[in-house]
Symmetry: C2
Subunit: 196 residues, 2 copies
DNA sequence: TGACAACGATACCGATCGGTGTCATTTCGT
DNA sequence: ACGAAATGACACCGATCGGTATCGTTGTCA
């Protein structure tokens, strides 16, 4: 028995919403949000257009929900990656390896938050706001890690690491010839060192 | 006398092509390529749709030409930034300041190559190929600079710096509270140091 | 078992998409 | 001054866009 849409948790309404959002998220990530039409989501999910619009008032709202879902899943994985590590440095190393693996996957298409930000010019767009919050949260967490690692100017170093990570997210397969995890770890270690 | 479309160099045909491409490039960069319709380019440029399609067979070709234009202008500025600097380190510092300034501009909307790559899923898309070549060229130039600076593993360090730069390009205004040039310079200096 | 809520299906809306055909006008080289 | 070439204006194409209205069906809970 493959686990299809049936006997998932929640009411039927919640299941329909979750399934529609799940399929939409996959299509959005794989193809870009602007390239995916609502009709396509209907066909791929089997959820009627009427039902989708009952749960999400506009396509923009669906995109926003997509980014919020990605945000939750990202931090959930982040927490899982960080948990087993004993020291702040070990936590950062684990994050580097995690990102390195992720970025080299075959169907990796970049950070959804950055991709959507690239697609919408208006910085006030609800999806852009989600993306902005996501990146602010990343900087906040990295700042904490830097402080725990005894770094003086944690805010600045955290931003430098954040830029490095975002660059890796946007690397578009260029990291495939490298040991991406090791490359990121060595870079971060140098950034954490006090200046010579 | 403001310099309008008239008395620019080249034949009338070349002028029409250049003007259409210029206006299209501005609109593409400001709004994202998928958000801009051909009709909009016609209205903003005053060039007839027929004429545009005589110079660019498809919208995709126009987007490709846009990225090639951005590529040429980018390296032209890069060369101008690097030229006056005496040492390899000074050249890299100058690049950091240049990128730092660029990234903090009010209407800065990220790297056009990365933005377009985010909009098209197909890695074989002609525009994606231009973007890929652009980023490869960046890595090549940074590798040369690293070697000139006496770095051992220049290929790896150059990639680390490239990631940092791409992260800055994608920073979406988050570098505004910082001295972006100084932040990039300090990061690059640490990356250029041999490991402790 | 009955009533209400949410579902799916379908047809439809005006607007816009990328792209083409036609044809009169304008530029430009000789 | 003339002919070739490229221009601009405009009408038009089928397809698709995001979104809505209608209505019969299905699940759910009292």
């Amino acid at each position: 028995m493959t686990a299809t849409a049936a006997d998932q948790p929640g009411t039927r309404s919640q299941r329909a919403r979750a399934h529609a959002l799940g399929v939409a998220s996959r299509l959005f990530y794989e193809n870009g949000v602007r390239a995916v039409g609502m009709e396509q989501i209907v066909d791929a999910s089997g959820i009627a257009k009427t039902t989708i619009y009952r749960h999400f008032p506009t396509k923009d709202a669906l995109i926003e929900a997509f980014l919020e879902k990605e945000d939750r899943e990202f931090w959930s994985q982040w927490d899982a990656v960080v948990a087993p590590a004993a020291s702040p440095i070990a936590r950062i190393d684990a994050l580097c390896d995690w990102i390195g693996d992720r970025v080299r996957r075959d169907n990796y298409r970049g950070c959804p938050q950055l991709n959507v930000a690239a697609e919408f010019a208006d910085a006030g767009h609800p999806a852009r706001r989600v993306a902005r919050r996501h990146k602010d949260e990343m900087h906040r967490r990295l700042s904490d890690l830097c402080r725990q690692a005894g770094v003086d100017d944690a805010t600045i170093v955290a931003m430098q690491i954040a830029l490095l990570f975002d660059g890796a997210f946007a690397s578009d397969g260029r990291l495939k010839p490298f040991d991406a995890g090791a490359l990121l770890r060595s870079a971060v270690h140098r950034l954490l060192q006090p200046p010579a």
